[in-house]
């Protein structure tokens, strides 16, 4: 029996989608420069469903890829360049178990990040990783990408909050990996970008929800002053929950959009600082932050402990990518990292690269940990603009690595950055990574040609390039 017939026999109508309209909805994720129609979309409801799909793929030699909400920004959930089945996991969204004493929650992978914290809010606990996409992205996607977010400066990345997983590996074996259980195979899983198997259950660590939150918006005349304030704060030993900067162009785009947050439009940069924790901890650290702000005085300063005001201050930051839609039809969000002490200088060089390639470049970034998001706005219908944006992106990531940093702080390599892996890793490193993947996926069926260059072509991913459409965010 052929593959599709076997799938249709195993799953009831409506859970195997092969019509073109459905396929179009799954042809790319939040990185619209790579796109390809899937062979089929299957909607599993349980670990057993996933196991059966994967076994069928294995028997028929068909590639497969997991998809959560499709908000990934590096092409991770996009079908590859061979016929690929998409496992649409967004429907597996149960909170399976919540154990406040052990501070853990067991969830299905399709549960939306924010929904977990909302579901347990009465317990005084929360799930700390908070990608800006947290209203939409799934926890399975977060674990697969090892996602960060504004508050990972204090609380760490998703990997620091994963205690156990159920993973269906590429041969259809269901594996349970837990912290402290034999070798730390669990530690390999966050950031595997869906290339080891399909996550069907996650045991996540919870932290106490903050009793008090204090947020400042400091508007500076230029980027250098904002970066200096960040250095002083980090040097003081106080660990804010978040330290985020938006540059001049971003401020203007945000203020002209539905995400307007009241940021001063004459500022060269705004710095968002947030402290959270117990009442006492926030009060004692507030004194330190305020003395630093007195030494590095902003043009204007707003501070609040009010939830509504806080939401307003964050609205501009969280909506920044969306607001970029005003600048050009397409957006290429980069994700380079540099040592924090080099932020100021590297940002100047990045702007220079933008000027050289004549692309519109704005910056929104996690300043505390040096994770930059240079945003390149362009019109993908124009092949020249498109080529310039890609080349500027390549130069910026090469610069980040030259300065001792990384090509990706949180968005993953996906199909987007395969070519850039050689900036960071030698060929033997890549061979080891490939061999590690083969331990989980010997036939190379699970999200092939993602995260790690396969050596099939040094221009991997290029085959899937098609004209970009409107920036996804």
């Amino acid at each position: 029996m052929d593959f599709l017939a076997s799938l249709l026999r195993r799953f009831p109508q409506g859970r195997v989608l092969v019509d073109t309209a459905s396929k179009l909805a799954y042809e790319c994720d939040g990185f619209p420069l790579h796109r390809r129609l899937p062979l089929a979309i299957v909607v599993p409801r349980s670990t057993e469903d996933v196991r059966d799909i994967v076994k069928l793929c294995n028997e028929h030699g068909v590639a497969f890829v997991a998809r959560g909400a499709g908000t990934g920004l590096s092409g991770g959930a996009t079908p590859g360049d061979r016929p690929t089945v998409v496992l649409a996991l967004a429907g597996m969204r149960e909170l399976v178990r919540f154990d406040p004493d052990d501070r853990v929650a067991v969830v299905q992978p399709g549960l939306v990040n924010l929904d977990l914290s909302v579901a347990i809010q009465d317990s005084g606990l929360c799930f700390a990783p908070d990608p800006s996409s947290q209203k939409a992205c799934t926890l399975g996607g977060n674990v697969a990408e090892n996602s960060g977010g504004p508050h990972c400066f204090k609380y760490g990345m998703t990997t620091d909050h994963v205690v156990g997983v159920t993973l269906v590996t590429a041969d259809g074996t269901v594996r349970h990996l837990r912290e402290g259980d034999g070798a730390d195979l669990l530690g390999l899983v966050p950031g595997h970008e869906g290339t080891f198997g399909i996550l069907t259950e996650l045991e996540l660590r919870l932290v106490p929800a903050p009793q008090k939150i204090r947020t400042w918006l400091a508007a500076y005349s230029d980027m250098s002053a904002a970066c200096r304030a960040v250095s002083r704060i980090v040097g003081s030993g106080v660990v804010p929950a978040a330290l985020e900067i938006l540059d001049e162009l971003t401020i203007r785009a945000v203020e002209a959009s539905v995400y307007a947050a009241g940021y001063p439009q004459d500022a060269g940069a705004v710095l968002l600082i947030e402290l959270d924790g117990s009442h006492l901890a926030v009060d004692t650290d507030t004194a330190v932050i305020e003395s630093i702000l007195a030494e590095e005085p902003p043009l204007t300063l707003e501070a609040t402990e009010d939830a509504e005001q806080r939401t307003r201050l964050w609205k501009g930051r969280k909506g920044a990518f969306g607001a970029m839609g005003r600048l050009a039809p397409d957006l290429y969000v980069l994700d380079g990292v540099v040592p924090r002490s080099k932020l100021e200088r590297v940002l100047q060089e990045i702007c220079e690269i933008g000027r050289t390639h004549e692309v519109t470049l704005s910056n929104v970034f996690h300043a505390g940990d040096g994770n930059l998001h240079p945003n390149l706005s362009f019109d993908g219908r124009d092949p020249i603009q498109r080529a310039r944006a890609l080349e500027a992106g390549r130069e910026i990531l090469a610069l980040c690595v030259r300065e001792g940093g990384s090509i990706s702080g949180e968005h993953g390599v996906g199909s987007e950055k395969l070519e850039h892996m050689e900036f960071m890793f030698a060929s033997h490193d890549i061979e080891i990574f490939r061999a590690v993947k083969a331990c989980f996926d010997p036939k190379g069926l699970c999200n092939p040609h993602k995260a790690i260059p396969t050596g099939a072509s040094c221009k991997e991913g290029a085959s899937a390039k098609a004209p970009g459409v409107l920036g996804a965010h």
Partner: protein
């Protein structure tokens, strides 16, 4: 200077192992093992073996103690690079001189521990329950596989998701996969004020109830331990750090007293399990603490950390019922063959050994009661 009882442990004499002078010599040694199909085990100062861990005489040990020194230190970026043979205490002395430290570390911060050994062994550590667990502190790694070829994973910045995270595979591996050469670490500011606060001794059941209660209600702690004494009593101990006003307020709890302050509180390593014939470490779910205590022999001493990781010294044998209540444990020191199983039965684990060459000896000695193993290979140590 960080001292504690385990400094008394004498490391193995160099004649028991090959001490390589540099990385070239290590590469040659590994290629030789590979060619002869002999198993090898990287060690630092071999203090684990001095501590009583079983030794398999057929495994060639190679000490990396001379691959030492802090190779890169960027205080402004809160990162440093350190070679694996560096003494843990030397690393701490270097970074603490600049007002920085590691969020978590072993409670027995003995001089004879190498940095590589600490991460490879990943002993239970009290701090880092909400952030900064031991395994999160390695941000990059340079290592050598079993064919003597060098490779890297991670990088030098605190945030990085490019490439698979092989740093995690090193943490707790017991040296099973590859020989790490140099680690890149994430640092934190040494808190301005630190206090270690302890309750009075009390019956064990009262102490475990208090431990559960404080875990739920006491904010701003860096650790909360349940400490078991060999006389059958127990107490609760916690570390609080930060601004002086915060520390003073949190340290003021009825029937508790401050037993150490400043760096002494941060590095406090008060329990010695030295004399115990059986030393066991593992992890249990805190919600099962009552079962755990029910089966715990009265003379057992040691501590249970916030997340349920524990290290205990026991005079007799491990009661079978206790095994059933813990998720995972391994015996560090004990009569040979007792409860020692090498977990190489998992297909992926076995395949991973092969990725890095086959000469490294499986370093993990475990028993796992949550999913009973059916080993395909007999224990090395039985």
């Amino acid at each position: 200077m960080h001292t504690d009882a385990s400094e008394r442990i004498v490391p193995l004499e160099p004649r028991d192992q090959v001490v390589v002078e540099d990385e070239l010599e290590l590469a040659e040694f590994l290629r030789d093992c590979d060619a002869r199909k002999e198993a090898c085990l990287p060690v630092g100062f071999a203090s684990r073996e001095g501590f009583g861990a079983p030794v398999d005489e057929s495994v060639r040990r190679v000490s990396l103690r001379k691959l030492a020194g802090v190779s890169r230190f960027a205080p402004d970026d809160l990162t440093c690079g350190v070679r694996v043979g560096t003494r843990w205490s030397d690393l701490l002395a270097t970074i603490e001189a600049e007002g920085l430290t590691l969020e978590s570390g072993p409670i027995h911060a003995a001089a004879h521990r190498s940095v590589g050994g600490v991460f490879a062994e990943a002993p239970p550590n009290p701090r880092g329950h909400d952030r900064g667990a031991l395994r999160s502190q390695i941000i990059g790694l340079r290592a050598m596989d079993g064919r003597g070829a060098e490779f890297r994973s991670g990088g030098r910045v605190v945030k990085n998701v490019a490439g698979y995270d092989l740093c995690k595979l090193f943490v707790g591996s017991g040296g099973a996969y590859f020989a790490a050469l140099e680690l890149e670490l994430r640092l934190v500011a040494l808190p301005r004020t630190i206090a270690c606060v302890r309750s009075k001794p009390m019956p064990r059941n009262d102490a475990s109830a208090l431990w559960i209660e404080l875990r739920r209600t006491l904010p701003d702690t860096r650790s909360i331990d349940l400490v078991l004494a060999s006389d059958g009593s127990a107490c609760v101990e916690f570390v609080v750090a930060g601004a002086p006003a915060l520390v003073t307020a949190r340290a003021k709890l009825d029937a508790f007293e401050v037993i150490a302050e400043g760096q002494a509180a941060w590095h406090r390593a008060p329990d010695s399990l030295d004399a115990a014939p059986l030393i066991m470490r593992g992890r249990m779910r805190p919600s099962r603490i009552d079962d755990f205590m029910k089966w715990m022999p009265l003379e057992a001493r040691g501590r249970v950390h916030f997340q349920g990781a524990f290290a205990l010294g026991i005079d007799g044998t491990v009661p079978p019922a206790l095994e059933a209540t813990v998720g995972f444990a391994r015996v560090l020191r004990g009569p040979r063959g007792m409860l020692l199983t090498t977990l190489v039965d998992d297909a992926i684990e076995t395949r991973l050994f092969r990725v890095f060459g086959t000469c490294f000896a499986p370093g993990r000695i475990s028993f796992d009661t949550s999913t009973p193993p059916t080993p395909t290979r007999a224990s090395n140590h039985g």
